[in-house]
């Protein structure tokens, strides 16, 4: 499936900004089933410095600086992406406890790479409360995939989608306590649950198709950037699930970047000089299906 994504972020400042310096995770990365055909990043006013690199997790990153004074900053990312169908799920995948033990002891490069995602990260600190929430989905000997599907469904059922409740830095503990949040919170919670059991889980940022074909329901998060967790299944690979919509992630999801948590893949972050007082932020995302493109 092919998608055209336009992700526009606009800041308005009360007082002029003299300079800003930012980092953007806005170019969709390559994955096993996704190819980024084109990606264009336009910053207005024009940046005075621009550099690109691939980060520790293999995501493309753009660093740029803009000299002011300016009161508005707009960053528009336009990309074309083709996404292949999901591989079929393993029928006899490992049990979750088997996966856990393998992660703890196996030093093969593949397992070691996954190990990276077993530990606490800046925004996801595991705790006994998080573990206690996860445990009912993980009885001994249960196949990992079933356990993860169950956890995904429970988060979907137990938590209220409430955009007014949390911020980008609300701790997972608090989300768990109040049982509400947005996609980022549910992704962090799922990641925390999985890690608390010794499993490898990462945080994925990306998009959902904005308007689904006629007759299909429109999903939450379709008009903004989306996020979901992914769990490592030994001998199979990374399995992405979406607790916000209770779905296994399929070809209508576009991946931008992944990391340990939101702090590794924040779409746009940075520092401004000046611009005191308040500012407003406006984010618009449009993801539309397009005709197949020549790669």
């Amino acid at each position: 499936m092919n998608f055209r994504i336009v992700h526009r972020t606009a800041y308005k400042y009360d007082t002029p900004v003299t300079r800003c310096r930012n980092e953007a995770h806005l170019r969709p990365r390559e994955t096993q089933r996704q190819h980024c055909v084109s990606s264009e990043l336009v910053v207005d006013p024009s940046p005075t410095s621009w550099s690109e690199r691939t980060d520790f997790f293999g995501n493309p990153v753009v660093s740029f600086a803009v000299d002011g004074p300016f009161r508005e900053l707009t960053v528009t990312s336009t990309s074309s992406v083709s996404v292949a169908a999901r591989r079929s799920l393993p029928t006899d995948g490992p049990t979750w406890d088997g996966a856990r033990d393998q992660l703890a002891n196996d030093l093969t490069p593949e397992l070691l790479a996954a190990r990276e995602f077993c530990f606490d990260s800046p925004l996801v600190t595991t705790s006994s409360a998080i573990r206690a929430y996860a445990e009912p989905s993980f009885p001994g000997g249960r196949p990992l995939i079933h356990a993860v599907a169950d956890l995904t469904e429970r988060i979907f059922q137990d938590f209220v989608y409430d955009p007014g409740f949390t911020t980008v830095t609300t701790p997972v503990e608090e989300v768990l306590g109040y049982r509400r949040g947005v996609c980022q919170d549910f992704a962090h919670l799922a990641v925390g649950c999985l890690r608390s059991l010794g499993l490898a889980a990462r945080y994925v940022s990306g998009y959902l198709e904005t308007s689904p074909p006629p007759g299909q329901e429109r999903l939450i998060g379709a008009d903004a950037s989306h996020a979901w967790p992914s769990v490592f299944v030994p001998r199979w690979g990374w399995l992405d699930v979406d607790p916000t919509n209770n779905k296994i992630v399929g070809p209508t999801y576009v991946t931008t970047a992944w990391g340990r948590d939101y702090s590794d893949v924040s779409p746009l972050k940075g520092i401004v000089f000046g611009g005191g007082g308040s500012h407003t932020l406006d984010v618009a995302v449009d993801v539309t299906r397009s005709a197949p493109l020549e790669a």
Binding site: G164, T167, G276
Partner: protein, 917 residues
């Protein structure tokens, strides 16, 4: 004399002791190894001279030497900051008169061992941020690296151009019971102590000069030469003459003294994060003259705080974009950001295993046996043997100190076990290593054995060139710290206890060395081109300006108080000769003048001592709640107390205590700009200030001697800046601040005292006081004879261009200074500041002393004086604002954006756009 029984073979010194040499009244702790005494209780050979000197001095002499050291250190401004409950306070640095002595044979073995350990740390660091072979091959547990908050993924692809990554490293070393050196701590991200080692040497060699000379102590200068040479090597490619800065977290950081000390010793600019800016991936220093490029950053800011774009977004200490600039190789940051990972004791505990594989050698300097609780085997061992171990937290749980298991009660042990179990990866257990003891002067002058830790320092580069040092040069000596208590097993690095100079006593007399590079290396450029001057950061200019203003202000307040005191001393009862009235006028004038606008520089909350100005008159201060608040509105407040309040109330802007506080704070924040003579005076002021704060006098008469000492110090300070400072930008701002305050205070004082015409005798007394306060009474008498008249006094105080205290004189100097200050915008020929000074002078010249002195018959007021001086005061205030705006404005930093208002999210900025779906 001693009963040391179990001391084993002694490394290096072979336990040989000198015949007949003893240290009276000193004995080692039974069972503990002592540095100075052999197992037989006799003084070791290398300690013979020191022991003889100590014995010769006796308790009285030792205490006198200790006091002398304290004085010298104070004069150098040697302090460290302690932060408790969010408040930072300066403590004097303390040095013991008895050095720690190592002989050169044992030293050269230790030196090689330290260099080897640092070389290994360097290889480990490179591996962890590179291929991570150590993890892949199972030599280092994956969770120890990948799960550590100190492993900064953003730093995985940054490196210094030099093959070696660790530029400057500290390794803490003790000698254990068996006489073997053991390392007990490795410091890589921003190692501290080098400046203290240097100041210790300077002080001790002055207090015990002949002993120092006779002992053939190896000099430290060569090491600093290696630092300079090393800096040239790590600079980005193509840079021959690197511009180097030392990046400090600022005057509140624990070891700020040595940041400044090292900066001035090495001749590098001392900067804070806000002094630097990244443009096009190059780092620039915001100096008065504009942007100066920076090639090497020696950072004293911890890893996570170095760059708010990629690391901690809430850091105001870092430089946005620094990491990307380093990544692109446009600037060398040493030590590389991310180095903290190799400080982890669980990791360094594995070095013994790693050394044969990475170096092909056995590790010569071993640490204590270490168990990391993040590993199941380590956890079970630590839980089982807690009583025999030292346990301490690593990583996230800060604010906790090492705990010796054997010191804990059963309850405490159980509590500790629970804490460890709840977050095992945050805990490490180590074998207890008992440091050897060293004689240390106690408070009654006797020598007592105290446990000692030597902090060694290594710099990348093979000074000897013999390849034996693994590419690292070790400072011959180090910073030795000793514990407070005789039996303390662990020595805190946080200020308790004292420090010692560390002597490597060489058989051959040391060669004279200097920190300058040998001339063979230097002339990359023709010698005629002078070396680039160190640029002056705008922040430093602002602080110098503040220093000038506050010193001048304090001086004026003292003079005025002294005048008031003279009045009080005279037997001027109520109504007698107008004495009481003139006193009241002077006191209210004092309050007017004290309206010192203490906003030192923009964006700098927390640097101001004391609270905000109180809107009420400062009557209730003086330290005693005696419930006389109603007196606020009555003129009959005992004059004594009112004057005292203006002296002592730190909460009143412009009070003596608050002005002096500003002097001291400003001086500390530009420490590297000031000479050691200046430091001595700042030390005097600080001491007197502490006295006034801690034992506030309740009577004005008790203040007189304090005032006298303070005035002397302040006069000496202004004398030093007039006579000894180079006329560079630094001086322009220091003197400019002084001139501006002098002009403004005088205008305010004259206005407050003279606007209302008073009875002849009162006015005479007031004029006399005014002239005396302005140091102009003698000139006036010489000129006008014994008769006081207002016009004459105003002429002298305002218009006389030859009187260095007159307003016009200050304005003339300000015009000169403004011309010499770096131009900020060439488009504007006559800068705003010049325009304001000229306008002020014109305002005054459009009238004259006679018209100013004229009294309006209806009101009894000098209307012209009131109007003109009011406007002059306003213009000078504008000048101050304009200077701040032009030279000292620092841009405010803030996080780009936090929340997505579209989704109605709320709360604090967190660093970027979220996934808010």
């Amino acid at each position: 004399m001693t009963t040391a029984t179990s001391a084993g073979p002694h490394a290096g010194g072979e336990g040989e002791t000198a015949d007949g040499a003893e240290m009276p009244e000193y004995s080692a702790i039974p069972g503990r190894l002592d540095e100075s005494l052999g197992p037989d209780g006799r003084v070791r050979t290398r300690w013979k001279q020191v022991a003889a000197e100590m014995a010769g001095l006796g308790p009285g002499g030792l205490l006198a030497r200790r006091a002398e050291l304290a004085r010298l250190l104070r004069n150098d401004g040697a302090t460290y900051n302690v932060t408790r409950d969010g408040r930072s306070s300066r403590r004097p640095w303390s040095l013991d008169p008895c050095p720690l002595v190592l002989d050169d044979t044992e030293w050269s073995a230790l030196e090689r061992a330290v260099a080897q350990r640092v070389a290994l740390l360097d290889l480990v660091l490179a591996d962890l941020y590179g291929r991570r072979r150590l993890v892949a091959e199972g030599l280092v547990p994956a969770e120890l690296v990948l799960g550590s908050p100190s492993f900064l993924r953003a730093c995985a692809d940054t490196a210094t151009p030099d093959a070696r990554h660790l530029f400057l490293t500290a390794v803490d070393v003790v000698r254990d019971r068996q006489g073997a050196f053991r390392s007990i701590g490795d410091w890589a991200q921003a190692p501290s102590g080098l400046g203290y080692a240097l100041v210790n040497r300077k002080a001790l060699s002055r207090v015990l000069p002949s002993l120092h000379r006779a002992s053939g102590v190896e000099r430290l200068a060569g090491f600093f030469r290696s630092i300079r040479a090393g800096v040239a090597r790590v600079a980005p490619e193509g840079v021959d003459d690197p511009r180097v800065v030392i990046l400090t977290p600022g005057p509140l950081s624990e070891t700020y003294f040595e940041h400044a000390y090292l900066a001035s010793y090495l001749g590098y600019a001392l900067v804070e994060g806000r002094d630097l800016v990244v443009n096009n991936n190059r780092v620039w220093l915001r100096s008065l003259a504009g942007l100066d490029p920076v090639d090497v950053v020696i950072r004293r800011v911890d890893d996570q705080w170095c760059d708010p774009v990629e690391l901690r977004a809430d850091s105001l200490l870092g430089v946005p974009g620094l990491l990307e600039a380093a990544r692109r190789g446009r600037v060398a940051v040493v030590n590389p950001i991310g180095s903290a990972i190799i400080e982890h004791p669980a990791l360094t505990g594995l070095l013994g295993r790693v050394a044969p594989i990475m170096l092909g050698e056995e590790l010569a300097l071993r640490g204590p046996e270490t168990w990391w609780c993040g590993h199941p085997r380590g956890l079970s061992h630590v839980l089982a043997s807690l009583e025999e171990l030292v346990v301490f937290p690593v990583g996230a749980s800060t604010g906790l100190w090492p705990v010796v298991g054997s010191n804990l009660s059963a309850d405490a042990l159980a509590g500790l076990r629970d804490r460890i179990r709840s977050r095992p990866a945050d805990w490490v257990g180590q074998e207890v290593v008992e440091p050897s003891t060293v004689p240390t002067v106690s408070d009654n002058g006797t020598l007592e054995p105290r446990p000692a830790v030597i902090r060694t320092f290594s710099v990348a580069g093979d000074a000897a060139g013999d390849g034996a040092s693994h590419g690292f040069t070790v400072l011959p000596g180090g910073l030795t710290r000793v514990g407070v208590a005789t039996d303390a097993g662990i020595i805190s690095s946080r200020g308790e206890g004292t420090s010692k100079d560390t002597w490597v006593a060489s058989a051959e007399p040391a060669l004279q060395q200097s920190t300058w590079l040998p001339s063979a290396r230097a002339p990359k450029r023709p010698a005629v081109i002078p070396e680039l001057p160190t640029p002056l950061p705008g922040r430093v200019a602002a602080q110098l300006f503040m220093l000038g203003r506050s010193a001048e202000h304090a001086e004026l307040v003292i003079r005025l108080i002294r005048t008031v005191l003279t009045r009080l001393d005279q037997p001027l009862g109520m109504g007698v000769d107008g004495g009481a009235e003139s006193l009241q006028v002077l006191l209210s004038a004092l309050r007017t003048v004290s309206g010192f606008d203490a906003v030192s520089e923009p964006d700098d909350p927390g640097f101001r001592p004391g609270g905000p100005a109180l809107p009420t008159p400062p009557v209730q201060s003086a330290g005693r709640g005696d419930g006389t608040r109603a007196a606020d509105h009555e003129p009959e407040v005992p004059t004594d107390r009112r004057a005292l309040a203006l002296l002592l109330d730190a909460g009143v802007d412009g009070s003596l205590v608050s002005s002096l506080g500003l002097v001291v704070d400003a001086a500390y924040s530009v420490r590297e700009q000031l000479s050691s003579d200046t430091w001595q005076l700042i030390g005097d002021v600080e001491e007197e200030l502490a006295r006034l704060r801690h034992r506030p006098p309740t009577q004005l008469v008790g203040v007189q001697s304090s005032l006298q000492r303070l005035l002397q110090a302040l006069l000496a300070l202004s004398g030093l800046s007039a006579e000894n400072m180079e006329r560079d930008s630094a001086w322009l701002f220091l003197d400019g601040g002084r001139r501006l305050d002098r002009a403004q205070s005088l205008v305010r004082l004259v206005r407050a005292v003279l606007v209302r015409k008073r009875a002849g005798v009162v006015e005479d007394l007031l004029l006399e006081s005014l002239l005396k306060t302005s140091e102009s009474l003698i000139i006036f008498r010489r000129r006008s004879g014994p008769i006081m008249h207002v016009a004459g006094a105003v002429d002298l105080l305002v218009y006389d261009a030859a009187n260095p205290r007159s307003v016009i004189f200050q304005l003339d100097r300000l015009v000169d200074h403004l011309e010499d200050m770096p131009e900020q915008s060439s488009a504007q020929r006559l800068g705003n500041e010049e325009r304001l000074v000229l306008e002020t002078a014109t305002m005054l010249r459009l009238t004259d002393a006679g018209r100013l002195a004229a009294v309006d018959q209806d009101t009894g007021l000098r209307m012209e004086l009131d109007a003109v001086f009011g406007r002059v005061d306003g213009l000078l205030g504008e000048l101050l604002d304009s200077l701040r705006h032009t030279y000292f404005a620092h841009e405010r930093l803030s996080v780009l954006a936090g929340r997505n208002t579209e989704d109605g999210g709320s709360g604090e900025a967190g660093g970027g756009t979220g996934h808010r779906s």
